[in-house]
């Protein structure tokens, strides 16, 4: 069969299946990133709070979820989570097995991991905000929350954007590990296609190319955001 046929959208081509898989990857990653953003912000705030207990808890979170291989966390949440749900079900009189859907378990696992990365990105960006500007905010009586929302957040986003883009990339690729839950995302579908047709290079290259397409789409979003966030900055770097 020719390469074109293999990748086509007809009944003999893998095109449609791969595109759907790319969509699943995108969706899982986006949900995971949202979960991670919330967790990351909370953990970063804890680590910056100066409260000894909170700092410790924050450090435990970032150390464990950055330090333990992703695959283990996915296993824990997918299988462990299922056992927990089953136990609860049986306690309530339900016979047999219950489980977390693969999508939910995968998004949750990748989200928890990405939260630990995002916490560090946010923390680094917070430290880059000029102290004087924070003081100016305090001086007009901005409450902690307001100061955070009006002065810190916009600037943290500006400084965090490159790192945030990195985390997005990471999560995009961590989502490939969800394949152990049987979710038909891009990585698994490429491997299935490769194994079913024995065209390993073709489908790995096509899979890689699809990841690159996802990347370039998201890069465009991030570039636009960066340009917007930096319009108030003088550009000393570009000069002599």
């Amino acid at each position: 069969m020719s390469t074109l046929e293999l990748l086509g959208f007809g009944s003999t081509g893998w095109g449609a299946l791969l595109l759907v898989a790319a969509g699943v990857t995108l969706a899982v990653t986006a949900v995971a990133l949202l979960i991670g953003a919330v967790l990351g912000a909370i953990v970063a705030a804890a680590k910056l709070s100066g409260n000894r207990v909170l700092v410790f808890l924050g450090s435990v979170y970032t150390t464990i979820f950055r330090g333990v291989p992703e695959l283990l966390i996915i296993y824990l949440i997918y299988f462990g989570g299922s056992s927990a749900v089953t136990a609860i079900g049986q306690a309530m009189g339900y016979e047999g097995f219950l489980g977390l859907p693969s999508f939910a378990a995968g998004a949750l696992a990748v989200g928890i991991i990405s939260g630990s990365y995002q916490a560090e990105v946010f923390r680094g960006a917070y430290l880059a905000v000029a102290r004087g500007e924070l003081e100016a905010a305090s001086a007009i009586g901005m409450s902690r929350g307001l100061r955070f929302r009006r002065i810190i957040m916009p600037q943290v986003l500006r400084y965090a954007l490159p790192g945030f883009g990195n985390v997005w990339q990471l999560s995009l690729k961590d989502s490939a590990l969800i394949s152990v839950t049987g979710l038909a995302e891009l990585m698994r579908t490429s491997q299935v296609a490769a194994g079913s047709t024995r065209q390993y290079f073709l489908f790995f290259i096509v899979g890689g190319a699809l990841y690159l397409i996802l990347t370039s789409l998201s890069d465009q979003v991030f570039n636009r955001a960066e340009r917007r966030a930096n319009r108030s900055m003088p550009s000393a770097m570009g000069q002599v």
Binding site: G67, P69, L71, F79, L127, A128, G163, Y200, G207, A236
Partner: protein, 234 residues
């Protein structure tokens, strides 16, 4: 808890630790140097070099390491000119290929992280350096790099830890490091959780050490942001 099984698993896994450490140390140091070169191309002002660096970062950040490693190890060897070329004795070795693809990948990520750090350097301080005649490498070495490093460190320590975990992919190319050995053990024993738990502890300890070292460095580089130490009379 089957203590005997856990301890024998631990012993088996620890035997693979040197491989993991070697992969890690080599790929992080090579990757870091490569990243510096790439970020220099990226922000240096030459349009073609910047374009190349952008493309490099795009490809190596944008695709899964698993695929990159597969293509480096199995893909390159498909070409006759590589198999007959002078580098074949090196590229033939699985370990070399594993280090190579790990380093290429982390270089893409690190370059982007370093660029973020550079963006955080206050433009006024760069200006002051230009005004006394600094430029090029001197400016980078004395002013931009130290400040940028401080800002990039949290993200970079994350990347370093990621590399520790990424070494686990090397078993794909027949380099049997800790995770690979763990997976092999699982397919003998089917005690997934127990074996993975042992592996997790090993990685956690390694990464804890790495993160502590990075935190120490960060603390050291933040002197100027902290309040004056008590009784610091010169």
């Amino acid at each position: 808890m089957d203590i005997e099984f856990l301890s024998s698993t631990m012993v088996t896994l620890l035997k693979a630790l040197p491989v993991t450490l070697a992969l890690f140390a080599l790929s992080v140091s090579i990757g870091c140097v490569l990243a510096l070169v790439i970020v220099w191309m990226r922000v240096g002002g030459n349009r073609y070099l910047a374009g190349f660096a952008k493309g490099y970062i795009f490809v190596f950040r944008g695709s899964p390491l698993l695929i990159q490693m597969f293509l480096v190890f199995y893909g390159l060897a498909q070409f006759d000119f590589i198999r007959n070329g002078p580098l074949w004795p090196l590229l033939r070795e699985p370990f070399v290929c594993a280090v190579l693809s790990l380093a290429l990948c982390t270089a893409g990520y690190s370059a982007e992280i370093f660029r973020g750090g550079i963006r955080s350097v206050p433009p006024r301080e760069i200006e002051a350096a230009r005004a006394i005649g600094m430029s090029g490498f001197l400016l980078v070495r004395r002013i931009i790099a130290p400040i940028a490093l401080r800002f990039a460190l949290p993200a970079y320590s994350t990347e370093v830890v990621l590399m520790m975990k990424s070494t686990s992919l090397a078993s794909l190319v027949t380099v049997w490091e800790v995770t690979g050995v763990a997976q092999r053990l699982i397919s003998h024993t089917y005690r997934t959780m127990e074996v993975f738990l042992c592996a997790a502890i090993i990685y956690l300890v390694l990464n804890f050490i790495v993160l502590q070292a990075m935190a120490l460095l960060e603390h050291f580089l933040s002197r100027h942001l902290r309040a004056a130490p008590p009784a610091a009379k010169a």
